[in-house]
């Protein structure tokens, strides 16, 4: 592994910037709490009278429920759908034409459609006792044919997940820009490419503690949620309650990644249960529930043709993409977001004159699919970048050359691509050139010619992507799902001692928002970051927000904090002018002080006067006060486009199938970075997950739809020894549309690694005639492909 130092020193504080504002590499404030074990997660919440819930879950993928038998001694502790009178099923409808609606009962009624579906809820003083009760409940199930293969599910005559639909397709979409113009291209490559079904696996699983406060007439739900306000809206719909009757508190959250974005049937169940039984109730997801019954993601299939000229110039892409959406449409993102997104983002940062993409969101007897860090971008990047390497091989070009020939160029910015995605800024070819230089592609090629003493084969792979982030109203209104982000709001309050409280509706579950939002406020108001508190994760204390998803929080909540702080600063400036007996037009707010020609007054003094010594204020002072809420949208809400070029060097043992990552380089452009240290952390974390997608993570199913990786012994996650010390380089092309020019970067690290690593493995094995087009790239898949290639060679000889 090469030294990180050189790349890093080139970029670190190029302008010598110091301090605490935008651009400062501050250690995270929240780590003082989190790293010393003082964090508080849902599992740490203790309420008097708390009892535990365990669920009886379906052991079958598809079955009719003939009966649920509860032993006499446990009646009263077990609840089924018939008990949940008045509770509505979870409905996540898309407005896209042709979308078929699924209703997800919070406890199964009539049928079960996936292994792990909730059937009954068991209550006991402890979880172990609740599991004992659950084990005593017997289900009388009539097994039905289950469908777990999304391609077969599309075929006529397949078993039906929702009989009344007549087929298994949630939604089919078609997008075309004159594909006929590409058909005469001299290079035409067609492949089938797929990504495995994965589980998101945050360190902390989901968890719910529900309690009803009779005095306040309010249900309080502690939930490990990344979008607490959306959870509240969804709960209010299912429970038929006023939103004001519900308070959702999401305390410290140990990773979200999308898993904690959806409304859970368990949240609805426990809300009902606490109101029924009159004491607090708790359910904590265990790892088996997470793997078997909760969020799955990533399962895509592509049948894709890429057309190109002999010099590698792209002529067009023709694709049919299928996404396994599972049994139900999840709230609020719906069952079709992922597949429909494929069609709009597949061309990515490349120019091409022709394009066609047909997508299918398919229902199967599996868990609902949820948007996982990167959402469809990871699959799309995998498909397209693997194909571009094949184009390069066919054209006899270096893969990097094909990228450079087709990437949007900086002078074309802002750029509308063939699916009318509006790229705000950036220099994509420069990122690719830097990545190629840093990985030293020429040295790798020379090393490949020499061969390895240990018999392994060396390969180098690259990939590049764009990450549309913080996409807003104009994008989401088109999807027509239950959640459309509008103006993001933030509240800023100066405290009597000159401190600052910021309230935001997004949440922080690893993103470092308690630090970065404070940096934004410091940039505007000059208040010391140590004296700024960020309040988040509580619907009672924060402005409504769609929450943290889609790499949006820094752009949206950061923009809202900046806007609110500017207004707060303006009010303080006017009060300060009064205290200085200056014309307001002649004073400025600078470094935490209002300054005029004859002197200055600190924000602290202004706050003290406003709250504690109002007698010192003149009667005509602006009565607005030192607490403001402001809404914010970027100049354009079609999203910021951050991007990165990844390059990987691997060593592959073709006989044992082991892959070692020897070197990994990431050149990222996330616009102006509020805190480069936090961004590095985001990229490293995303890279780890991307390596998981590339090499390890897969939830297989047997023919009856049983999930087979039910513990972490079978569902493999990358650990410290599997994740290399990647070398990072940053470019900082500002977005013209956002506060400070920031862009969203939260997901990017997880998007490109599967493509870069797969391309590297294929580069290593191409001389053997081997091509791997499926993630994860396991030892067995490698060796099977090597053996197949050897057999083909023998039969050709």
């Amino acid at each position: 592994m090469k030294e990180n130092a050189k790349l890093r020193s080139e970029r670190e504080f190029p302008d010598g910037k110091t301090g605490q504002g935008v651009g400062a590499r501050l250690p995270r404030k929240e780590d003082d709490r989190l790293m010393r074990g003082r964090g508080q997660y849902v599992g740490d919440v203790r309420l008097a009278g708390l009892q535990d819930v365990a669920f009886v879950r379906s052991p079958l993928a598809h079955a009719r429920i003939r009966g649920i038998h509860v032993p006499e001694r446990h009646r009263g502790s077990v609840f089924t759908a018939t008990d949940l009178v008045g509770i509505k099923p979870i409905r996540a409808v898309s407005g896209l034409p042709g979308f078929k609606i699924s209703e997800q009962p919070v406890l199964a009624t009539g049928k079960v459609r996936q292994v792990g579906e909730l059937v009954a809820m068991c209550l006991a003083p402890t979880r172990a006792e609740a599991e004992d009760i659950a084990a005593s409940v017997t289900l009388d199930l009539e097994e039905l044919p289950a469908i777990h293969d999304m391609l077969k599910a599309r075929e006529p005559g397949s078993a039906l997940v929702h009989e009344h639909w007549g087929d298994n397709v949630f939604l089919e979409t078609n997008y075309e820009v004159d594909i006929s113009a590409a058909l005469d291209a001299p290079i035409k490559v067609t492949r089938e490419i797929s990504t495995a079904r994965q589980c998101m696996s945050p360190l902390e699983g989901r968890g719910v503690v529900a309690n009803f406060d009779k005095r306040l007439d309010q249900l309080t739900l502690h939930s490990a949620a990344q979008m607490p306000h959306i959870t509240r809206s969804g709960l209010a719909e299912c429970l038929d309650m006023e939103e004001g009757q519900i308070r959702v508190i999401s305390p410290d959250v140990g990773g979200g990644f999308g898993h904690k974005g959806i409304l859970l049937p368990e949240e609805v169940c426990l809300s009902w249960l606490t109101m029924r039984c009159g004491h607090p109730v708790r359910w904590l997801e265990d790892r088996r529930e997470h793997l078997v019954a909760s969020s799955n993601c990533r399962e895509h299939h592509y049948k894709i043709t890429v057309y190109a000229d002999r010099d590698g110039t792209l002529r067009g892409i023709d694709c049919e993409a299928t996404v396994d959406s599972g049994a139900y449409s999840s709230y609020p993102f719906s069952a079709c977001l992922e597949a429909a997104q494929v069609a709009s983002i597949l061309p990515g940062p490349y120019k091409m004159p022709a394009y066609r993409c047909r997508t299918f969101s398919v229902a199967t007897n599996k868990c609902p699919i949820l948007p996982y860090r990167g959402v469809a971008r990871t699959g799309v990047c995998f498909a397209l970048e693997l194909m571009l390497d094949l184009v390069a091989a066919k054209a006899g070009l270096e893969p990097g050359e094909v990228r450079l020939r087709n990437l949007v160029r900086p002078e074309q910015m802002p750029f509308d691509n063939i699916t009318r995605k509006h790229f705000d800024s950036g220099d994509y070819p420069e990122a690719m050139r830097r990545a190629l230089a840093a990985i030293d592609i020429d040295a790798i090629r020379a090393r490949q010619k020499q061969g390895e003493a240990d018999g392994r084969r060396i390969g180098v792979g690259i990939s590049i992507y764009c990450e549309q982030a913080a996409h807003g109203t104009s994008v989401y209104s088109g999807w027509g799902i239950p959640m459309v982000p509008g103006h993001e709001q933030a509240s800023a309050r100066l405290t009597p001692d000159g401190g600052l409280e910021l309230r935001v509706g997004v949440h922080s579950h690893g993103q470092g928002m308690e630090t970065t939002l404070a940096q934004v406020a410091h940039e505007i108001l000059g208040v010391d970051v140590a004296n700024i508190r960020i309040v988040l994760g509580d619907t009672a204390m924060t402005p409504y927000s769609t929450g943290t998803w889609g790499s949006r929080s820094m752009v949206m909540a950061g923009g809202a904090v900046a806007t609110a702080c500017r207004e707060l600063g303006e009010r303080a400036r006017r009060i300060g002018a009064k205290l200085l007996q200056h014309d307001p037009a002649s004073v400025v707010l600078q470094n935490g002080e209002v300054r005029g020609v004859n002197g200055s007054v600190s924000l602290k003094a202004i706050a003290h006067t406003w709250y504690r010594r109002p007698q010192d204020l003149p009667p005509d002072v602006d009565p607005g006060g030192l607490e403001v809420t402001q809404g914010y949208k970027p100049v354009r809400d079609s999203g910021t486009f951050s991007y990165a070029a990844h390059a990987a060097v691997v060593a592959v043992d073709p006989d044992i199938g082991e892959v070692e990552i020897l070197d990994y380089v990431i050149v990222e452009d996330g616009g102006v970075l509020v805190n480069p240290l936090v961004v590095d952390g985001q990229i490293y974390g995303g890279l780890a997950q991307g390596i998981g997608t590339a090499l390890y993570e897969e939830m297989p199913f047997d023919a009856s739809g049983q999930p087979l990786a039910t513990t972490l012994a079978d569902y493999l996650l990358p650990g410290p020894t599997e994740v290399p010390a990647a070398r990072l380089d940053h470019m900082e092309t500002p977005s013209p549309y956002t506060q400070f020019g920031v862009k969203g970067i939260g997901e990017g690290g997880a998007i490109a690694p599967p493509a870069a690593i797969a391309n590297a493995v294929n580069d290593a094995l191409r001389p053997l005639g081997v091509e791997l087009m499926q993630s994860p790239i396991t030892p067995h898949r490698i060796v099977a492909a090597v053996l197949a290639a050897r057999a083909a060679e023998r039969s050709a000889a």
Binding site: R288, D655, G719, T721, H780, V783
Partner: protein, 277 residues
């Protein structure tokens, strides 16, 4: 993931443990380090009425060289071996195997007797000890008996323990000065169970070998003749290693998947090539 209710006893001596085991009529489980049984209890894959915790039995913690062999009590941990707290008659072979079992946290608690009793073919000791020619002593109230490690593993997760019997000790013969040792395994990631293990003890001077193919769905394949070396074990055994013969052994063991067989053979080949005196 909480275990079903069970009773718990922590006997003070081996006889008390064996009495409890005999009295339980097959409804008890022995726990030592708990590194395999713990998760199985939590997953309710096993639901014993009684857990007999033998971690307090001093008799089973002994490790001593007796004549030409090392006797390791069942409670000796992987970390004891890794750290050299036990004597060694294998010239470092066992120490190197121990150091690569799972993670350090597992090695701190996990015991050699527990690992054997669990009889997971993917675990290291079964293959390594079979190659080293080790035997196990099993004890019950009726007395003790002894058998080769490879005979002790009847099938996946299926030890040759009778009701009322526990693994008391492992007897490891001294490795001769001329014997080459090689051990290779392939794991999807560091610390995971192996999906292929090759263990070889070859003594070219004595023209003898113990070759083990482990981490298959059945007991490990142990070859003590020269069939993997073209009928003759000599100084050139590395060149003579016959991948086709190894492949045929795996095929006849019921492994139909060619890629799986290829990985096993390649890992064994690695063990052979890396074997050293």
């Amino acid at each position: 993931m909480k275990p079903a209710p069970f009773a718990y006893e922590r006997p003070r001596d081996l006889d008390a443990a064996l009495s409890m085991l005999a009295a339980s009529g097959g409804s008890a489980k022995i726990i030592a380090g708990g590194q395999s049984l713990g998760p199985m209890l939590n997953l309710r894959l096993v639901q014993p009425e009684l857990i007999i915790d033998i971690s307090g039995l001093a008799e089973l913690k002994r490790a001593e060289v007796s004549g030409d062999e090392l006797v390791l009590g069942a409670l000796v941990t992987h970390a004891d071996i890794e750290d050299g707290r036990t004597a060694d008659v294998t010239r470092g072979a066992m120490r190197a195997v121990a150091a690569n079992i799972a993670y350090r946290a597992v090695r701190n608690r996990g015991t050699i007797g527990g690992s054997l009793s669990h009889a997971d073919p993917a675990a290291d000791w079964i293959s390594a000890l079979a190659a080293l020619g080790a035997r196990v002593t099993l004890r019950s109230l009726a007395g003790a008996r002894s058998m080769a490690v490879e005979a002790f593993v009847v099938g996946a997760l299926e030890p040759a323990l009778h009701a009322g019997e526990i693994v008391e000790a492992v007897h490891v013969p001294a490795r001769s000065a001329t014997a080459h040792w090689g051990y290779a395994k392939s794991c999807r990631k560091t610390g995971e169970f192996a999906h292929a293990i090759g263990a070889v003890l070859v003594d070219p001077a004595a023209a003898s070998a113990r070759i083990v193919i482990g981490a298959i769905d059945t007991p490990p394949i142990v070859v003590t003749n020269a069939e993997l070396f073209g009928g003759r074990i000599a100084a050139d055994y590395k060149q003579r290693f016959d991948v086709r013969a190894a492949d045929a052994l795996l095929a006849s063991a019921g492994i139909d998947d060619a890629a799986q067989r290829h990985i096993h053979v390649s890992v064994l080949r690695r063990a052979v090539l890396e074997a050293a005196a």
